[in-house]
Symmetry: C2
Subunit: 245 residues, 2 copies
């Protein structure tokens, strides 16, 4: 019923993934590994959910009764200002958790970017379960601290990087986080629109478009289609991302 496996990925940092095959819940663990008994019981409290592209998962301000684990597809989470300005705070993929944060209400909204399947848990059930699964809780803590590190990188990007540096960082980072990406490292799938990229990087769609065009004309990347590109000069892109230009 449960299995422990490695993701079929070329990502430099391979991650161990534990999949509850009954309910599909995934619990990545970077430094502690889980065995079957840690995941037993998840299927009893899990509920499968299917979302079409664009459908909402959670809405900022609603009571936080559920938490989710993505099993396929991709999700955007974002916050809005009253006048409609949007900041996408994360793109989430298979294996990621949504709504872990304690707190009365959700602090952000979440929607499917493309068709997605998820596992839904009642938060109370989940908390009760992990209380009896210390290793599962440890894995969640690992995950949370890793997301914190990623959030700090994103703050550096938003606070101090130029438009070109942001795009370069984004293109390098994205494939390391989507387990469903194509197998070659330099091929980048962009399941999101320009508008979503812009709202993730703190830019406008026009700037995103212009920078991509510039990277294309300088030969650093090649646009295969709107949602697919190849990194032709990875070293160059890395230099750009870190401001070494």
């Amino acid at each position: 019923m449960l299995e422990l496996r490695s993701l079929p990925t070329d990502c430099a940092k391979r991650r161990q993934e534990s999949v509850c095959s009954a309910c599909g819940a995934r619990a990545f663990s970077v430094c502690s590994s889980l065995d079957s008994s840690d995941l037993a019981g998840l299927d009893a409290i899990a509920e499968r959910v299917t979302l079409k592209a664009g459908e909402a998962l959670i809405r900022e301000g609603d009571p936080a009764v559920h938490l989710f684990n993505i099993t396929s597809g991709s999700v955007r989470i974002y916050k809005l200002l009253p006048d409609g300005r949007r900041q996408i705070t994360g793109f989430l993929f298979a294996g990621d958790f949504v709504g872990l944060a304690t707190g009365q209400d959700y602090a952000f909204s979440g929607e499917a970017i493309e068709d997605a399947t998820l596992c839904r848990f009642r938060k109370a059930d989940y908390r009760a379960l992990i209380r009896e699964r210390p290793l599962l809780e440890e894995a969640l803590l690992d995950r949370a601290t890793h997301e914190l590190a990623a959030a700090q990188n994103q703050m550096l990007l938003l606070g101090r990087k130029t438009a070109q540096e942001r795009i370069a960082s984004f293109l390098l980072d994205l494939p390391t986080r989507d387990p469903l990406r194509p197998s070659t490292e330099d091929q980048v799938r962009l399941p999101m629109t320009r508008s979503e990229i812009a709202d993730y990087l703190g830019l406008t769609i026009e700037t995103v478009s212009r920078v991509l065009t510039k990277l294309k004309t300088t030969g650093v990347i090649r646009l295969l289609s709107l949602n697919e590109l190849r990194i032709e000069q990875p070293d160059r892109l890395r230099d750009i991302a870190e401001g070494e230009v």
Copy 2:
């Protein structure tokens, strides 16, 4: 030897604080409360550290052997780009943890803003201890998810708010996080320099200075000294912070 107490604070959201009186370690808990037995053993593996203003706690890239809990003073954590651009990703105060993230090396640097005292733990010891203290681990997970929520707010600020909105948000947020702040809500202590505020908000010192001057001349705040100000019109400041102007 251990006590559970409430912080002497006027903060809207009162936090329960567990203090290990032997070693001074603090473990805030927002939704689960800890009792003495959960903290027992901390003093055996803790080491007290004193830092003078400006001294480094951890350095980005160094092996991550220790983690810290701040017992007094304040700390800045930040990341640098190769050319020296700095993004301060957080100001931390008494009760906050530094270096929780799993991972070979520290992903950011940390320095004391003002004289500070801390508890230092060897990470391996700490992980071994919390493995036997599920409630302590749960408290850490709570804390981590809360910091994630704070990080998302900061991303919204950095990605989508104007300079004036950033400063307003900062002035409203800061006093809710420093347990050592003066007791009145509208009095804000700024232990950090303009340069640090700028690097936290993704601005320059000149812009910080100009916006503060503007808020002063419009009567929203009053500068008592360089490091102390009063919020004269909290509602107005809240509106500005959310872009309702």
